[in-house]
Symmetry: D2
Subunit: 499 residues, 4 copies
Amino acid sequence: MTIEYRVADLSLAEAGRHQIRLAEHEMPGLMALRAEFADSQPLAGARIAGSLHMTVQTAVLIETLTSLGAEVRWASCNIFSTQDEAAAAVVVGSGSVEEPAGVPVFAWKNESLEDYWWTATQILTWPGRTDGAGPNMILDDGGDATMLVHKGAEFEALGAVPAAPQEGDADYSHEYAIFLDTLRSTLESEPRKWTDIAAGIKGVTEETTTGVHRLYQLAAQGKLLFPAINVNDSVTKSKFDNKYGIRHSLPDGLNRATDVLIGGKVAVVCGYGDVGKGAAEALRGQGARVVVTEIDPICALQAVMDGYQVAALESVLAQGDIFITTTGNKDVILAAHMARMKHQAIVGNIGHFDNEIDLAGLARIPGIERIEIKPQVHEWVIPADGAEGVEEHSVIMLSEGRLLNLGNATGHPSFVMSNSFANQTIAQIELYTKSGQEDAEGNREYGNEVYVLPKILDEKVARLHLDALGVELTELTKAQAEYLDIDVAGPYKSDQYRY
Amino acid sequence: MTIEYRVADLSLAEAGRHQIRLAEHEMPGLMALRAEFADSQPLAGARIAGSLHMTVQTAVLIETLTSLGAEVRWASCNIFSTQDEAAAAVVVGSGSVEEPAGVPVFAWKNESLEDYWWTATQILTWPGRTDGAGPNMILDDGGDATMLVHKGAEFEALGAVPAAPQEGDADYSHEYAIFLDTLRSTLESEPRKWTDIAAGIKGVTEETTTGVHRLYQLAAQGKLLFPAINVNDSVTKSKFDNKYGIRHSLPDGLNRATDVLIGGKVAVVCGYGDVGKGAAEALRGQGARVVVTEIDPICALQAVMDGYQVAALESVLAQGDIFITTTGNKDVILAAHMARMKHQAIVGNIGHFDNEIDLAGLARIPGIERIEIKPQVHEWVIPADGAEGVEEHSVIMLSEGRLLNLGNATGHPSFVMSNSFANQTIAQIELYTKSGQEDAEGNREYGNEVYVLPKILDEKVARLHLDALGVELTELTKAQAEYLDIDVAGPYKSDQYRY
Amino acid sequence: MTIEYRVADLSLAEAGRHQIRLAEHEMPGLMALRAEFADSQPLAGARIAGSLHMTVQTAVLIETLTSLGAEVRWASCNIFSTQDEAAAAVVVGSGSVEEPAGVPVFAWKNESLEDYWWTATQILTWPGRTDGAGPNMILDDGGDATMLVHKGAEFEALGAVPAAPQEGDADYSHEYAIFLDTLRSTLESEPRKWTDIAAGIKGVTEETTTGVHRLYQLAAQGKLLFPAINVNDSVTKSKFDNKYGIRHSLPDGLNRATDVLIGGKVAVVCGYGDVGKGAAEALRGQGARVVVTEIDPICALQAVMDGYQVAALESVLAQGDIFITTTGNKDVILAAHMARMKHQAIVGNIGHFDNEIDLAGLARIPGIERIEIKPQVHEWVIPADGAEGVEEHSVIMLSEGRLLNLGNATGHPSFVMSNSFANQTIAQIELYTKSGQEDAEGNREYGNEVYVLPKILDEKVARLHLDALGVELTELTKAQAEYLDIDVAGPYKSDQYRY
Amino acid sequence: MTIEYRVADLSLAEAGRHQIRLAEHEMPGLMALRAEFADSQPLAGARIAGSLHMTVQTAVLIETLTSLGAEVRWASCNIFSTQDEAAAAVVVGSGSVEEPAGVPVFAWKNESLEDYWWTATQILTWPGRTDGAGPNMILDDGGDATMLVHKGAEFEALGAVPAAPQEGDADYSHEYAIFLDTLRSTLESEPRKWTDIAAGIKGVTEETTTGVHRLYQLAAQGKLLFPAINVNDSVTKSKFDNKYGIRHSLPDGLNRATDVLIGGKVAVVCGYGDVGKGAAEALRGQGARVVVTEIDPICALQAVMDGYQVAALESVLAQGDIFITTTGNKDVILAAHMARMKHQAIVGNIGHFDNEIDLAGLARIPGIERIEIKPQVHEWVIPADGAEGVEEHSVIMLSEGRLLNLGNATGHPSFVMSNSFANQTIAQIELYTKSGQEDAEGNREYGNEVYVLPKILDEKVARLHLDALGVELTELTKAQAEYLDIDVAGPYKSDQYRY
């Protein structure tokens, strides 16, 4: 037998196993689901291709999915975010390095982009099935696995992979060129590979705002090839992972990267959505003065009512000590901005893609120098520019513009991820057991649309996490429930309720 | 000419006019709407029956509506909440006490329940129109004016007003008996009064959670007689008025009522919706230790993640110094709870109706004594009960269980109300100009359903308030807007977005 | 019998008595002292002249002093701060309006300056004692009573009262002229009045920073006529009253005066001592963005580390919505500053004297108009000044520049004052029983110097307040106490410890 | 020449040099002192033995001392706290590994106790001086270097080192036994070593509460052998390092050690001095519910007024998720406490010595197991104890009970240390230039006592840090300064002022 998994080392695996054991205690939602479904095994027969940061917490998710009956293959959705000891522990499982008994994981810290798309291909390529069968479920974070299948099938239908934009073109993207190369290669070797895989998939559950946005676009164009559940918009995901997870992991990333005192500094947070709210709270909690930038008047008004100055980025370049993007948008911090910052200003992204910060533009400044202070921490020395009145100074760039909480720290803590991943697990069960089925009235349960989990399941996820925090929940009396016109057991709010 | 308005006194009116002038500066949303619609007069012809706390801020709303062309009649929606100087100023307007040139206002501080339903009748009864014409718009807070019309029409159809439950009946309500008396009287004098009024109304705009809930119930039963706009669920209302307004007015009410130090005390906040969130933040901001009670596991999880203890009310009766209900539910604090509280525990409601606290039950405790410390502040002395192990002690009850920020202070401050009332004004324009119309495709614009304002208008309301707070809003570039698949001018978020 | 007290009205007194009864529950320190010294009556024979804001809380202090055996006469130390119902209740005591059995109080809300110095004279003039005996103790706030005695004796020695600076002189003070008139009058009628009084006084206990500063100056010049205890610098006074009291009463005063939303506003706090720290925390807790001004680099560094912007006042005149002085200094906000503020900026003082804000300068601006919005709230309309580029705008001045928490609200809440006043009571006992005595070694216990209470008594005051807040204090083991080289019972810290 | 320094590796040194360069920007106080004293070289001739955590920040201190003319030898004052790259960079200096041109550093991460006392000896043993000359200044943290000299001289006078308490004795200490061995060894080889060294020392500047406490004890007993400056009690040290440094480094240590979500958890902070205040603020800022334990009623009252529950440790063992000691006391968390904690409760110390937590007692529990999760993070599995009703559970112990911010993270950040170290540098200059001198009146400037820096120097340290944080300091006018009776340039407060 060939070991195809990329990460497997016993001492790493042992270290990872200790961490997984401790994390299980901090993930009461997943452990409760393991207990609830131990007998019924609702995921028996599921073959899940998972693409999500390969951390200790994800290890607990993977082992929850397998404990519910699923077969799983896994890659990370980010080239920097893998914790090698977690990957190793999952691969080895109850076996040894020579005969790992765990789950195939294709992920390691610091992948190249070529590696990355290779790993994405591996998780969708089920081995040992001569019938060409592939996965029947996707669990996605950011939508790369889903895009691979969709674009692959699209190009197979065309019979060709289009040429990539060239360097110098306005829409040139180094990564997109590699992505197309990946598909060009499979089109040659297996011309129906992605079409067949797409046909076998019952659904995808998607973790992030960005991935969900892609799914809604596909659905709107009628191009979505299978049902999708938007896990991101469960309240117990978007309001917890995005806000409370960031509150924890932003200062953690800043501290591990720079050891710079946050207190007393001016921290500029670009964006005041859930991620921005968590970021601002964390920085204020450490004694920083937070300035927010916003495009949305409602969020801007929230920021100012929460006591933050709301300013244009240009207005605070000379004051800011720390700049954090949280937007999901592109070109939020431009090279021209960084050229005007204070010496040793810290710049990092905790929103989504690395294009929130224009690193490419920064690299194009004539005479600029990039010094690696340590992995994922680089000092970019911007030379003086007499014409522009810029003096020589440097900015400290975290994680090369990718998510700094993953690149410089260990991502969200277990308890937060237990909420997100309990939603993922419930969504996988929902789609795997119901996609393709008809309901009592003969309607198809799930079409090729994007769904959110019903509120009662969202409330269930919350409920699974209360005991661990010592919460005493009050129970409605029957009379009160009638007065409010709801059920004693919930759901307690309308779907529009904003929390 | 007979002066029919109840409040008109020149020195009061002058004091009120000063306060209105200052408040206008704090209500930039309303002032911007006055400027925007000065010429077009979109409410010309509108006859608005308004039922909403008659405060200084409401005076600015009323005068905004009239400056847009409307005729208005007004009552308060709460027997304690009127600020007499504001009412007087509105009545007198640019006139004198003898010849007031302002708006008829039927409201004064400390109305009886009989008064209250009389005033509600007055605002819906347009004088001097022999053709029986009444109002064509309702602006409502809590839904009492809307209920009067609906129940009135219902009983007119039946030809009779049903008998009220009697004292001792489980569903006995003193107020409901008075309400039925009111309708019984009009059925006798004008047997088609409410039916005719209902027929003339183009729509209602409703301010509160509770009122909106009633509207959805009517719509679901097919009984809603005209279109309704749910102003409460505009983000710039529910997330501002409910949260930031309460954050301001809860400590204000507590302080004016009791002068008791909040710092260091244990404050129990029942409910962690938007009102509860604002209440908890305010109390913590004053140095109290806040304990939250909740029925909804998601809100409970939010509370604990925000650093609050979440406990059953029973668990903290002996620790709590201040108890505040914020739920919209009934029977949240029962007499049996109050019997177990500490001596001089403060009890108040800032949620909705006075039935959040079981005052009736409290009054039924044998031997209980009620001492008026000052208006709206009563000490209830609960005698020792050997059987129950209760020692003699008192609770301090605010505003007799009605909204303490209105009863003990002056309600929400102007700036918050400018947000809510800009939504109200826009909603009045929307319904008045479009209800009954057909759109381009020939569909009726508004049916007898409950609508929320489109997000772009919600964002507009926010936008009108930014300058006053010194906010610099960032503008999307075209490329960024395309990347996000939205318009540069908004709306910026999906309807499901939770803020 | 002639009723010489100025305030005595039965309905007022009854209202005051209710409030005093509730306040007693919130003043556990004073009530514990009443219990501890009920039998020993350590103040029997003491004749205390008290000059301190005549509020409900002071009423509890006065009745604590009398319950320990003292005779007391009282005036307020501020012309606006008296709560008439509290004064009335104290005067009436257990008697009736015709035959009051309480304490002579010379205080009412809104005294003139002439009234003020008359009341100060009254409390020091003990009636019915033909031997000329006066008070033997002073309890002072701000030092006015002490100054009256010292200056009186000084001028009696000179045989003349000097002429007051005239209007137009650099050091002209309207109040000082009235003060001199007061002494001129007594010099004529009783030429040894103050000399005799001074001789009879065993000591003074002083409440405030300002009063203490005057005492240290007198002591340094060798002019202090009797021992003094600096109550202000007890930790349980300076760190509680100044910080936590202000945290409570600043927003209370702002709200009662203006009803303006604090959230989202820019609030400028001048000074970051204990009062400034409490002010900043309160305003932030209400969602304001706080900017601090400071002269002391250490306090400035504290402010910035606490997350506040520290700026020069000139830099933020155009941004500030609310300006609060907390410095104890003079000329902190000048007329020239106010001329540059935003329209309807709110200006108030919570530091010490009204000279923190240059009201005199404001009044001298040509064409300025002063409108009374309500008592203690004035709008000053500053006309356009083409030369200076100033547009017409107004500032809202609170309490005419005097302490806004006293003028616009009810001062510090009872619990805070229980700390301060327990220190006062203990200090009165200390001086009354020991001043003039010699200790075991034959040294005079108290000379004409300024003393602070020993730390063990400071800790005692704290200890008296813990139960009411549900605190469980940990007790040192003997081994731990030895390890720390302290006593199990305290004191726990060195005198230099900063808390 | 033999390289005697323990840490010197070029790649480490280069990494360290980058970090030192970045840290210099964050230490404006030290850099300003380098600039101010570049010419005057006030430390020329000084031979400083430094014992203080060998971190990147300390590297900047060391190089500041040398740039002012001093010769320096250095050790860490904690066996876990050395950052090897910083040590290497200091050793190598401007030289190479073969010929280091920097400062001798005797420190590496994870020393044994034997190593530790060896390094302490090395820094006090000046090489290449045949006249036996040693250091003439000590810079100490915790007082170990000072204790070594004092005890060494004491035993040399006795002619013998006493026997150590044996294992099993009540006062047995493994470390003290090693300490005595160290002195026994020098007594044999150089019987007057410490006596001679003591004679040559002009003074010591001490960093910590604990070290200062030892110094005051020595001074009180008349045993202090040279003058000492208490750096700890400079406001810019105690109120900054202790509070703001801990606020930063406590969550940093917790996160790096455990990756456990702090939000929503119950965190128990033992002690509410400056360290406890910083700890509580940090944990609350991350969304934890903080419970404080205290022995001092004043600090307890502060904690409750700041909104924290104050409880006995015994009351919250079952609720706490995280337990942090901050006391400087011993036996604060006992084995019996840990036996009652929740499963996976986290226990750490950020106060002073490792005896705050009774690790020895924990290790004595029969059947207990200690698992290393990673360096400085151990899981102690406490077996079930039927008799005591204890179920099997584990506690997570950080840094084996030593300072977790140093053991699990990188200590205080540079900016905080710039304050402390600017005090150290100024104190070194003060003692080196003035100790042994007489002042103008012929009095000895510094006797064998413990001194604090004058307030004007404390204010100077603050002043050096304001520009970097964008502070605009207000300047007193001459009139204001006179009014306050202070100098325009400071000092601004009395020595008793508490900040």
